[in-house]
Symmetry: none
Subunit: 127 residues, 2 copies
DNA sequence: AGCAATCGCTAACTTATGCAAGCAGGGGAT
DNA sequence: ATCCCCTGCTTGCATAAGTTAGCGATTGCT
């Protein structure tokens, strides 16, 4: 069973960006301005009409203060099977968590992953 | 691993690709074919005439069997210094979790961070 | 009532990406 | 010598990216 996944990721990239933007309470114009791109273009990106280049994705990720990796991953530009940004490492490296909290989070994450059969060939939500 | 983030990376991206190609003993056409792009275009990429999109970089990295991350890094599309793998992004990008599980984990993470007084989902301050 | 500012989106335009076709040169085999 | 296959490079073109200008619909202010 091969993965036909690539397109579905790409399709929800726009929505992902929109979610991040709204999470940050930014208007289209404000985010576009912060990212150094035009606001109509951002609008089109969020609605999936245009596919942004990596350069644009980088600027957006910076403006949204999220990692470029997750952005590229969402955009289907990284083969996650190969190089998944490990949740383990991220939690471990996080400075805002106590070690107890890390344990709890890691344990929960492990439990969840196991519950799914450990396989990384999972669906990704379509709302 | 400290890296200077500048445009000089972008400029030697082509040479980097050429080095990788020669290291693998591949001709322009063979690599282009393996990556699914045209050979003149690859030639132009290697000489810095054209800037490949992330999609092309991804295919090249796969064909060259190097990580997309190092490719993007070379292309100057990732701010390495800035790029601490945040828990937020790592969870979000994780392929082994369902969207519900992600919500739970993220919510817990946010709660924990907030409890420590360090906002994980913070405002964006502008200059 | 107006006027101004902001919201997201549409239309028309410029520019760059990425491709197919073709060119010049180099070996090796016949 | 010709023929064939390979090397990398140039040219011109279709299409997608990304722009500026402007639209209709809100919201607040006087």
């Amino acid at each position: 069973m091969l993965m036909i996944v690539s397109d579905s990721k790409q399709s929800d990239l726009g929505e992902f960006i929109r979610q991040q933007r709204e999470r940050a309470n930014l208007s289209l114009r404000r985010l576009a301005d912060a990212a150094g791109i035009s606001n109509p273009y951002l609008s089109q990106i969020e609605r999936g009409i245009r596919k942004p280049s990596a350069e644009i994705l980088k600027r957006l990720s910076r403006a949204l203060e999220i990692s470029a990796n997750s952005m590229y991953s969402k955009a289907g530009l990284i083969d996650d099977d190969f190089e998944s940004p490990s949740v383990f490492d991220a939690i471990d490296a996080d400075a805002s968590l106590t070690s107890e909290q890390k344990k709890v989070l890691l344990d929960l994450y492990r439990t969840m992953s196991r519950a799914n059969g450990l396989a990384a060939e999972n669906d990704q939500s379509k709302e």
